[in-house]
Subunit: 199 residues, 2 copies
Amino acid sequence: MQKSPDAIENLVKKLAKLPSVGTRSARRIALHLLSDKDLNMAPLEQALAFAKETVHACTLCGNLDVHDPCTICTHKHKDASKICVIQSVGDIWAMERTGFYDGHYHVIGGVLSALDGITPDKLNIKSLLNRLDNVTEIIMALGATVDGQATAHYIAEQIRTVKPDIQISRLAYGVPIGGEVEYLDDSTLATAMKSRANF
Amino acid sequence: MQKSPDAIENLVKKLAKLPSVGTRSARRIALHLLSDKDLNMAPLEQALAFAKETVHACTLCGNLDVHDPCTICTHKHKDASKICVIQSVGDIWAMERTGFYDGHYHVIGGVLSALDGITPDKLNIKSLLNRLDNVTEIIMALGATVDGQATAHYIAEQIRTVKPDIQISRLAYGVPIGGEVEYLDDSTLATAMKSRANF
């Protein structure tokens, strides 16, 4: 039996590797793109190329942005005395959508995990410790998972060694246990940020 | 409040326009792509460019392929005396996956719809009527929707005007009412093809 030809099969495979896209959706997307290349495929290609060329990680906080330092780090209404420690850039987007937090961020890039071989030196913890001057509060906004909380404890310990008088808080209980920050609904996230407690 | 910058927002918007991708999935995909451009974004860009350059619609049947006429139209084990009339290329893929049908196809590109202004001249019906020499059977495999069946009746009428002795069949009942061919599970589709009845 003749299978669908290589270039299509290859595109479907690449699409199916994207998060939250299965093989069935990948086929639909490939067909959609190929059915009208000018209308459907060209704008996506341009958006990809444009984003690839212009978007970079902020050297201060790790956010993805067209500016470096990013628009949050240089924003005049963002309070530089607060740093919210989060796992990934998606968590910044989720937090910004709530509109409740007005401080800076620090993307550590993951959580400690013995199983996955994620040791402290693989996370952006050192860069966090280097930007604590003039910072009065660190807010831990890592997931309420075992690894997330272990990571928060480790980071808090490191911070207290360098700067013992800094206030360290965490998101309020209200984050569902086992859940990841990125996928919370906005109101739960806003509530959790509002009623944050000492760490 | 600072929103995520233009290039990212633009990419998210373009991704969210893809079928079966919502805004939330689009954000995840954009982050995934931007988090490692070499590993995640480059292969997708290449697959898109390669498919865009090499994949074209078959001038005979309308299938998408790197060859023209397509690999199905030129396949030596495909029976050219049977033509299966389907709505879109996705239906060919679904049909080929069942492995049950060994004939040719004809993509008409949609179904008649007064509401959407889809009149007979907007579908590839004329090209079907032009390739009926040496064809003994036409199998209607349009969706079991009102529009799909109306379209099948219209096409059957046109075919009988040109070539009254041709056998016209349809997929067996078994296609769920309201359902589209592309989304059927393989065994239902194979059964429906096997027990096809006269139209």
